[in-house]
Amino acid sequence: MRASLTHQRSTTAIHRHEIIVRALPRAARGARGPAWDFARVSVLPPSRGDGTKSSDSAMVEPGEDVSQSDGAPAEPMTPPTPAPAPGVFPPNPPPPPAPAKPASTKKAKLKSGPTYTPSGTIKATKQSDGSKTATFTLGAEFENDPAHDVDPAAGEVRQFIQWTKEEDIPNHAGFRPKTDYKANTWYEDRDSVGKRYGRRTGPYAECVSVNHYEDKAGNQNCASGEVFVGRDDPTDGSGAKTGKWLFELRAFDVANGDASLGTPASVAVDWNV
């Protein structure tokens, strides 16, 4: 039932934008002047199969065979197009121009952050299996001010990573082939299954305990929550790394061309332990 109602509303909306026009013939205005006066068109209610045409721009195309109120043949503005040979079909007419979309008025605004806790340089710790690891949390808060079109859903944070030695490239499927990635260059961080921090929608998005948005009451809401909550535990599985991994947490206004917001937060993991 709900789907049916939605469909009806949609159909009605489309009809509201249809304007059916019929140019008035010269006979109705006298013999002088242009064959058709497009400044004077009658707007008719929507109908099909009556020789009229639907158009969003209320224009009549040159050469069009427009029915006249007095039944006289129309004077074409250009020579008529020859009829195609039997079995030959004329090309489809170009689609009508899409109605211009209003520019998005939504925007994102940072209220606080982005932040790393702790920040600065973290010395990795060795684990009993020989690996090394570090832990930090990621945070940011976007403003929610509908009266001024400030929409937290338009705000996203993203984490970037670079490594200081070529051999310290993250050894996982997210950074393959290795030859495509260089040291001392920022790349958006990702895991081995392609997920990334802070994405609200799309194939990179996830909504999990260590990578999600929530509302001010603490309820998980990855679509439009104001507060980003994240945690990262970068790990050197072999324990052989000796350089640093540098991370930046940046904020973006995705409703306005991914415009940067605020000042990125920084943290570094020093593997040389």
Binding site: S131, T133, Q159, I161, P170, N171, H172, G174, F175, D189, R190, D191, S192, V193, K195, R196, Y197, V208, S209, V210, N211, G230, R231, D232, D233, P234, T235, D236, G237, S238, W245
Partner: protein, 157 residues
């Protein structure tokens, strides 16, 4: 299709061979929820492995290779009471290694029947305790694989 199962107090592990892959099914045999680590984070990556043995009794393990994590966190999923969760393992996808006390000749292994079982092991960690994730070791029953072993990695570590 060989199938094996091993009962434990909390989780039951079943193993089958399917089109060159190991189909490992984890069954929550308890009346309450059980939490397990997601397989791609550093807590869950090494949890599943396979053990194989020859007729001579020589055995080896096939486990995940070492890797890094740049984006990583302790995430888990829930198994409801009685729920079955199947994981298909492709031991030839490049992320597995054969580990044995002595060198293993993979070509030689292809000529003889092998016995195979799956293993789930989750170590106790502060994160597991905090999030209530299952810890312990569970094995499936042994199943027999007859040549050709299209699930067997091509090389050893």
């Amino acid at each position: 299709m060989p199938v094996g199962a091993h009962e434990s107090t909390a989780l039951k592990l079943e193993l089958a061979l399917r089109s060159g892959r190991l189909a490992v099914t984890i069954v929550n045999a308890t009346g309450g929820e059980q939490r397990l680590w997601d397989w791609h984070n550093s807590w869950g990556w090494y949890a599943l492995a396979a053990q194989a043995r020859e007729r001579t009794g020589r055995s080896f393990e096939i486990k995940r290779e070492l890797r890094d994590w740049s984006k990583n966190g302790p995430t888990a999923f829930v198994l409801s009471p009685g729920e079955r969760h199947e994981v298909l393992l492709d031991l030839r996808d490049g992320s597995w290694e054969i580990v044995a006390a002595e060198s293993v000749d993979v070509v030689h292994l292809q000529d003889q029947p092998l016995e195979l079982r799956a293993r789930l092991r989750i170590e106790p960690t502060p994160e597991a305790e905090r999030l209530g994730v299952f810890t312990g070791t569970v094995f499936s029953d042994w199943i027999v694989s007859t040549p050709p072993h299209d699930w067997l990695p091509a090389s050893t570590s």
